[in-house]
């Protein structure tokens, strides 16, 4: 059933370039020779490695254990030998432990035992056990999200996929609608909510149809960036506004990403730990854009080679989407749970222009989905007056990039705001 959502006025229409691999089915990339798996692929405490160098592991075996309440287990994505535990700088610029496993191409695989019942506690237990985190990019452990402080009434499924280029959620929705619906039902049972709403952008009519056919409440969201941002999505689907500084559960809502639901389905019904993710490899700089199912820990260089190699004029590698993703210095990075894209941008697509003076045009403030005033935040951040910057809403920024995308002067607004936020947090 298609239900009518609310309109949200603020945001931009970005050139989505999804056509590069919109029609490409998800392909499973063969596991690579060597995987390097980070122990910190989520928000919260890094997991603690429980294997030693020289150990034999099989696919699906836990190699690092969650430490503390907000953390997640990490599993081996191939069978083979642990050859080392390295420190690598991750795309966020943090030094993190990576477990190196050499693939020996055995086909063994560990599965959890069948669940005895499908009650809330068991499902949450399985989701925690399987190391599932918010796969849309945030990486917040899903089990924590499933145990809110106050009772919820709605589960919102984020199928907006508003980031340009990315198609992985869309392909998953097309190819595995039944599995996702089951995932929704399991998580709804875990949360004890009756009401499930799927929010899908209007540019994916096939997906909207598939879900409404299956009896889900679907909201056709307008095609606008950033529709997939939690607060905007909640507003469009339910009309509720999350107060500033509050979380979705404060308004009785839990938002889950398509990939998270698919992974939860696999964990609950197929007893699979999280070892693979679906990501989009795209951009004009790669020979063949693809939607891939890859093993966690696969080197980005292998992915590039599998997609036919990069072309000459690549100027930027990006992990994630182009609006919020991280710029990579080189391809010596390894797939993490939260990766949803690997983009190779050429100088034509990428933003390489030098910033000039802000002309005070107001475009940034006009479109900011959080209704902030980025030009003043930047002005005061550059002047070192962080308290003033806070007055214009710095702390509420979701770093969506809408403001900088539109800025005719190419001001690095997001960078300034992020810096200001860090400074403000430091002070506290």
């Amino acid at each position: 059933m298609i239900i009518k959502g609310k309109k949200y006025r603020y945001g931009v229409h970005v050139k989505d370039r999804k056509e590069l691999c919109r029609e490409k089915p998800i392909e499973t990339m063969p596991a690579p020779e060597i995987v390097k798996i980070s122990v910190s692929q989520h928000i919260g405490a890094p997991a603690n490695p429980i294997v030693n160098v020289g150990d034999d592991v099989i696919k699906g075996q836990m190699i690092a254990e969650a430490t503390g309440a907000i953390s997640a287990n990490v599993f081996s994505s191939v069978c083979g030998k642990v050859t080392g535990i390295e420190e690598i700088v991750n795309p966020m610029g943090l030094r993190q432990k990576y477990i190196v496993i050499k693939n020996d191409y055995r086909t063994e695989e560990y599965r959890f035992p069948n669940l005895e019942n499908f009650e809330d506690a068991t499902i949450i237990g399985r989701v925690r056990e399987a190391g599932i985190v918010g796969l849309g990019g945030a990486g917040f452990p899903t089990a924590v999200k499933l145990t809110p402080k106050n009772p919820l009434d709605t589960l919102i499924v984020n199928g907006a996929e508003c980031e340009p280029y990315l198609n992985c959620d869309y392909r998953l929705m097309l190819e595995h609608p039944d599995e996702i619906v089951k995932g929704i039902n399991y998580l709804a049972a875990a949360l004890n909510v009756k009401n499930g709403i799927v929010g899908i952008e209007k540019n994916k009519p096939e997906a909207i149809e598939l879900f409404s056919e299956r009896g889900m409440n679907v909201v056709a969201l307008q095609k606008q960036y950033p529709m997939g941002s939690e607060k905007q999505l909640i507003y469009c689907c339910t009309g509720r506004k999350v107060p500033t500084g509050k979380m979705p559960f404060d308004v009785g809502v839990c938002v889950q990403n398509i990939k998270t639901l698919f992974a939860s389905y696999e964990a609950v019904e197929l007893n699979k730990p999280l070892t693979e993710i679906v990501m989009t490899v795209s951009g004009d700089g790669i020979s063949e854009a693809k939607n891939l199912k890859v093993a966690i820990g696969t080197p980005f260089t292998d992915i590039a080679a599998y997609c036919g190699g990069e072309k000459e004029n690549v100027v930027k590698y990006i992990a994630g989407g182009p609006m919020m993703g991280k710029n990579l210095i080189d391809l010596n990075q390894y797939v993490r749970k939260t990766d949803s894209g690997l983009l190779f941008l050429t100088n034509k697509e990428a933003n390489l222009e030098e910033p000039s003076n802000c002309i005070n045009c107001g475009a940034c403030a006009k479109n900011c989905p959080m209704r902030l005033m980025p030009m003043y935040i930047e002005l005061y951040t550059l002047a070192g007056d962080y308290e003033k910057a806070k007055k214009y809403g710095a702390m509420n920024c979701i770093e969506c990039g809408t403001c900088a995308y539109n800025c005719p002067a190419r001001r690095p607004l997001v960078q300034s705001i992020a810096f200001c936020k860090a400074k403000l947090k430091e002070k506290k």
Binding site: R240, K326, V414
Partner: protein, 325 residues
Amino acid sequence: MEEQLKFYSNSPHVKGRRTTREIMLNVCIALLPACIMGCVFFGWRALMIIALSAFSACAAEIVYRLVMKQPFPRILKEFDFSSLVTGLLLAMCLGSQVPWYVPVLSAIFAIVVVKMLFGGTGKNLVNPAITGRIFAFLSFGTIMTSGWVIPNFASSSVVSGATSLTALLKDGTMPDLLSLFLGNVQGCIGETCKIALLVGGIYLVIRGIIDFKWPLIYIAVTGLMSVALNKFDFHYFLPSVLSGGLILGAIFMATDYTTTPNTTWGNVLYFVVLGVITAVLRQATGIEIVSFAILLMNLFVPLIDKFIINRPFGFKREKKVKEAK
């Protein structure tokens, strides 16, 4: 093989199409019809003044930067045509009878003193073109306001010696509305032909560079205020809207990005007050006052932006959320 240097930057990694340069060029394009009509009505002298003003404005920016020892390639790369806009706008509000040094000196003043000394594009406190005009008005007084040239095809109904606006305000002479609209009345080069200005304005609205609401509010408020000041005689509405530099000012000058507030409500306040001030000052002084009004309001923009700010999403809705539960 040497590693090729990749670009490294914060998100977002893609960009919109709009750039400062593109915006400024679009404004120039929007000014073209008015320039052409000015030349048609006022002949080659108008062309000369437009050219002189535009050239001096651009030259002033480049020379200023050279004096500041900026490398020439960088100047070229950063040249964003905003000086050209200033030059053109300034010419638009000069009469075609002024001697050659008026546009040159005012353009140099506008660029160097009002814009570059404040830090270049976007840093100016007030609109350079308007300040240039006021500079000319104050320094060359009588040259600016006397000896208006009657356009080539002027109808006989025009009173010579004063613009129709001055006539209207001083002795209540109703001008011929059609010629006011078409532009064959005496006045400044770019101010007279309302059709050309409207075409330019519509172009800007279509390109999404200005919001049609603001000029409309400004013009409407000015018109209604004039009506109110003249004992609610609605005959005053159209003449006061169509005469003088109101339409030019509303479309091209008052909407200047740098000198307008950045919030919707800030803009509403700005344009409404601007309209009121324009009408009141016009009535009180009996001269063409749009530029003074805009200049005055420009000074209040930082203040407006300080007190009217956007509330972050979800800011004051806490109560509503509770109700929903």
